[in-house]
C-alpha cells in the first residue's frame, strides 16, 4: 500500500516532465496518418460486422449438412464477435476517451459517440473516464478495484460472500457488458447517503433504454430475417456478444489486477501533485505483451500504463509511447509491470481464487 520506490519530489517532477514530453511530442506529430488509421479501422469494423451477419445467414441453407453448417455459422459469429471487440475497444472506448477529438470531426467525437454495448456512453464517461482514471487504484475511491464484487486486494476486508468469487468472476466474464452497464449505479453511495435512489434510478432508465435497443437488434430484428430459423441467429449473435464479453473482461482485468500492481490509500494521494499522479498511474497499471494484431484487438489497452498516463492520446501511438515510457521508468527505477497474457491473466486469476479465502496479504507483499 505504500510506494515501492522512494523518490524525492524534485526527482519525481523530473520524471513527470519527461513523461509530459512524450505526450507533447506525439501530440505535435498527429496528422493525416492517424486520421487514416481510425477511418480505416472504422471501415474494417463495419465491414466485418456486415460480413459476420451475412455469413450467419449463409450457413442456414447448409443446416442439413451438420458439420459444414456449424463451421460456417461458427465463422459468421466469430467474425461478428471480432467486429464487436474492435467496436468496443479500439474504436468505441478510445473515441469516448476523446482520443480522436483533436480531429475536430463531428462524426468521430467523444461528445456524440455511442458504442455497441448496453452501457450508455455518457454513464461510461463518468464511471470510467472520471472516476477510474482520476482515482486509479485508490482504495475506497476507484470502484474498478474488484468492481465492488470481487476481493482483489488483501486489504479489502474478507466476507463469507467472497467464498463465491470464483463463480462471480466467471459470471462477470460472460456477462461483462451488463456489469459495465450497471457500474455507474452507486450502490455504496446510496447506503452512505452520498446519492439517492431517485438519482440512481435515472441512470438505470438510461441503461434500460440503451439495452432495449441493443437487445432488439441482436435478438429480435436480425433473427426475424431468418424466419423459422431465428433460433440459430439468436444463438450466433449471443455467441458473438459473449465472445466480446469474455475478451474485454480478460484484457481489462489484466490492466490493474496482476501480481506486482500497486494500490494506494486516500492518504497517499491527499497532497498529490501532477507528477505524483503520473507515478501512481504507472505503478497502478499493467501492460500485456503481444503482436500488433493482439494490441489492436485489445484496443491497445495492452498498453495500459501508457493509456493511464495519456488517456486521450490516439491509441495507435501507444506502442511508440510505450518504448519511451519504459526507458524513462528504467532510468528512474520505477517498476514497469509488463508481461505475457498468460502471466498477467494467470496471476489475476490466482489472486481472485486465493482472496476468496481470508488473509492473503503476507506472501503477496513479499512477492511484490
Amino acid at each position: 500500500m505504500t510506494f515501492p520506490i522512494v523518490m524525492n519530489p524534485e526527482t519525481r517532477d523530473r520524471f513527470g516532465a519527461e513523461i509530459d514530453a512524450v505526450q507533447r511530442d506525439i501530440n505535435a506529430s498527429l496528422g493525416d496518418r492517424d486520421r487514416r488509421y481510425i477511418k480505416r479501422m472504422i471501415a474494417i469494423q463495419r465491414g466485418l460486422a456486415v460480413a459476420g451477419r451475412l455469413t450467419i445467414y449463409a450457413s442456414l441453407p447448409l443446416l442439413p449438412t451438420g458439420l459444414p453448417f456449424l463451421a460456417v455459422i461458427g465463422l459468421g459469429s466469430f467474425t461478428l464477435g471480432i467486429a464487436k471487440i474492435l467496436e468496443n475497444m479500439e474504436i468505441g472506448h478510445n473515441i469516448i476517451h476523446g482520443q480522436w477529438d483533436w480531429m475536430n470531426d463531428p462524426s468521430i467525437n467523444s461528445s456524440t459517440w455511442e458504442w455497441d454495448n448496453v452501457c450508455p456512453a455518457d454513464q461510461w464517461k463518468h464511471s470510467h473516464n472520471v472516476v477510474h482514471h482520476t482515482w486509479t487504484n485508490v482504495m475506497g475511491r476507484d470502484r474498478d478495484v474488484g468492481y465492488e464484487i470481487l476481493r482483489v486486494n488483501p486489504t479489502q476486508p474478507w466476507h463469507p460472500a467472497a467464498l463465491g468469487q470464483p463463480v462471480y468472476n466467471a459470471l462477470l466474464a460472460l456477462l461483462f457488458q451488463w456489469g459495465v452497464a450497471v457500474h455507474d449505479i452507486d450502490i455504496g453511495g446510496m447506503k452512505s447517503g452520498k446519492t439517492t435512489w431517485e438519482q440512481e434510478r435515472v441512470k438505470l432508465r438510461g441503461v434500460a433504454r440503451k439495452a432495449a435497443k441493443q437487445l432488439t437488434k441482436d435478438y429480435v430484428l436480425w433473427p426475424l430475417l431468418a424466419g423459422p430459423f431465428f433460433l440459430y441467429v439468436i444463438g450466433a449473435n449471443a455467441f458473438a456478444n459473449m465472445m466480446r464479453n469474455v475478451w474485454s473482461y480478460m484484457i481489462i482485468f489484466c490492466g490493474h489486477f496482476p501480481d506486482g500492481v500497486h494500490h494506494f490509500t486516500e492518504a497517499d494521494v491527499a497532497e498529490e501533485t501532477r507528477s505524483g499522479w503520473q507515478l501512481r498511474q504507472t505503478l497502478g497499471s499493467c501492460n500485456i505483451e503481444g503482436g500488433a494484431l493482439f494490441h489492436v484487438l485489445s484496443g491497445n489497452l495492452s498498453h495500459q500504463i501508457e493509456h493511464h498516463l495519456f488517456p486521450d492520446m490516439p491509441s495507435n501511438r501507444y506502442p511508440e509511447a510505450a518504448r519511451r515510457v519504459r526507458a524513462i521508468c528504467a532510468r528512474y527505477g520505477v517498476p514497469y509491470n509488463s508481461g505475457s497474457l498468460t502471466r498477467q491473466f494467470g496471476t489475476t486469476l490466482r489472486t481472485i481464487f486465493r482472496l476468496a479465502l481470508p488473509g492473503g496479504g503476507g506472501e503477496r507483499l513479499a512477492r511484490a
Binding site: 463495419r46 480531429m103 475536430n104 473516464n129
Partner: protein
Amino acid sequence: MAVPQSRSVWSRILDVASLAATPLAPSHYLELVSPLRATHTLNARVEAVHDEGDGTRTLTLRPGRGFRSHRAGQYVRVGAAINGRVVTRTFSISSSPDRRDGCIAITVKATPDGKLSRFLVHDVRPGAYLTIAQAQGSFVQPEGAPVRPLFVTAGSGITPVMSMIRTFVARGTMPDAVHVHYARTGETALFATELASVAAAHPRYRYVLVTTREGHGARARFDRAALDALVPDWQSREAWACGPQGMLDAVEACFAAAGRAQHLHLEAFHAKLAPRDAKATGGRVRFGLSRADVEANGQTSLLEVAEAAGIQAAHGCRMGICHSCDVTMVSGCVRDLRTGAEVNEPGIRVQICVHAAAGNVDLAL
C-alpha cells in the same frame, strides 16, 4: 416537436428497421460504399476543378442526397481534413440553382492565412469528398416584386452575385441591373469574360469593371463621388454588396449618409478568425447560454472562470484527462495551460479545465 400522427406507417417501419444498425444508423454503413447517399452527414464529391487564374479556382461539387438546393446568393459550409484536422469555412455558391446537373460550384481564392482556401485551391483533386451543410444566408434576391438591383462587388466577393446573374440569365428574367465590380487589374477580374458576354446579350445588365491598380485614379476606391459618377441613379436602386470588410464599411457609410441603409444588403466573405496572439493574456469571456460576460486572466482555467461567475459547468477530473467539461468555442482564442498552444478554430470543442482565455472568447456554455 414532431407531430407523430403525421408520420407514415412506412417511416415507422423504417425507424424500427434502422434499429438493426443501432447504435449507428444504416447510413453509416451506406456511406462506406456510397458517400453521397449518406443521410447522417452531408458529403459532396468534387466533380471538376477549373482554374480561374490569380490563385482562384472554381470547384464543381455534387452534393449528397438530402441537400435541399439553394437560393442564388446563399453560402454553404464546406469542410475538409487538413493534416488530420477537419476545417470548415463558408463559401458563397457561384452557380445558379437552376443548373441541370444538380451540382453546385464554389469559387475560392487562396488567401495567405486561409487553411481551407489554400487546400481547396492547391490540393483538392476531382473525385475527392468534402463535407458540406445545407445552404444558408439571406443575401438573396426578393422572391416577389422585381427590383432594379445595384451590385457592388470586389475580388472574390463577386461569387454570390455571380449566382444571381447566372440565375437571371437561366430564367430569362434579367432586371434593369448595374454591376460595379472592383478588381486589381482587368486580367485578374473574376468572370470578366462571362460577364462581358452577358452584358452584350442582355442590354438591361450593365457591367462596370473598376480596376484599382491601373488607370482609374480617384475612382479606384468606392466612395460617394465615385458611385454618383458611375451609377447616377443609385439612390433609386436596391443594393447588394459583397467584398472585403473595408469596402463594405465604405458602402455602408455611403448608404447610411444618404438615408438608404434599409435598401442595402451586405455579405462579408472573410471568416472572422480571432487573432492568435502569443502575448495575449486573458480577455472577455462570453458564456452565451448562461448569459454571462466576464473578464478573465490568462492563467485561470475557463472552468474556474465559469464557476466564479456562478455557472454550474459539467466537469470531472479537472486535470484535462476525462473530457467531461468540453465546451464548444463559438469564436475567440484560448490557450492550453499545459502546452501553451493557442487555438482559435471556431466550433472546436475546448477542455475548459485546462484552457484559459488568450483574447476574447465566446463559449457555448
